[in-house]
Symmetry: C2
Subunit: 158 residues, 2 copies
């Protein structure tokens, strides 16, 4: 009942993870596009879902140049997905917040993505899913330690 695939050439660990990474990234891109969002617009809205950062804080979350963030927020604001507010404590700073429309879009995109991915991993048995989750999480923790950050400190959602 287990394996129909012994005839197949085996993938290396790195190749299998890399292909899986492309698979997930492509799904995320598809579902974002279905909500009329690019991946980076989706990341922006995901960050804003439970934060109200300044432009400068956004450059750190997104790891982009400040001018890139200006353009990104410009386009999102023009579409009514986010709005800029002035910070009363520092009049140089600009705070960005998500609008109801932006929240609706990112919610529908992440829901659809999550539903599709859940259906995919449903092909594994429960204990296999748990194992996969544990192994993936351990790799994330190792990487976070290598980078000197706490994996669970700033989960930026999708």
């Amino acid at each position: 009942m287990a394996s129909h695939r012994s005839q197949q050439p085996a993938l290396s660990t790195v190749d299998a993870l890399t292909q899986l990474s492309f698979l997930l990234h492509g799904r995320l891109e598809n579902h974002s596009r279905a909500a009329d969002l690019s991946i980076v617009q989706g990341r922006l809205l995901g960050i804003l879902r439970d934060r109200r950062p300044t432009m400068g804080e956004l450059t750190k979350f997104l790891d982009l140049d400040k001018s890139s963030v200006t353009g990104l927020v410009d386009r999102a604001e023009r579409r009514g997905l986010v709005r800029r507010c002035t910070d009363d404590r520092d009049r140089r700073a600009t705070v960005v917040e998500i609008t109801d429309l932006g929240r609706d879009l990112i919610t529908s995109a992440t829901t659809a993505y999550s539903t599709e991915l859940t259906a995919l991993v449903a092909h594994l048995r429960p204990h296999e899913r748990d194992t996969l989750t544990d192994l993936a999480t351990r790799l994330l923790i190792v990487d976070a330690q290598n980078r000197g950050v706490d994996l669970f400190a700033d989960l930026t959602d999708v």
Copy 2:
């Protein structure tokens, strides 16, 4: 000896895989950029490493519009990474092949990427790596079946 992380909030399977996907994608991007390549240029060269496709075939491998492929190949050709040849059997068609320079670049990028990823998964025990590889491969196989293609038919390398 096993787990120091029971205090941490657990990630869902989907979240763990999604974050891992971002991690790998970011690494691939870094190593590509170190070789002065974008991810898509790297994919192009990876495909050309063991193929000599027409422009039309490239649009299928890359899942891009033909005009996008024209631009992609234009920029790669301008940099001396690929060259266009005429197809003698169909004089409408254009065959694309990699140059020695292109091959050097993609080899160094994939080698560096693979080395870093191998070091990361080396934090797992051998039997855990095997399990992870098996589970990831099974997800890829399910997805390939859903899409009606053979996973092992057209591995486009990285």
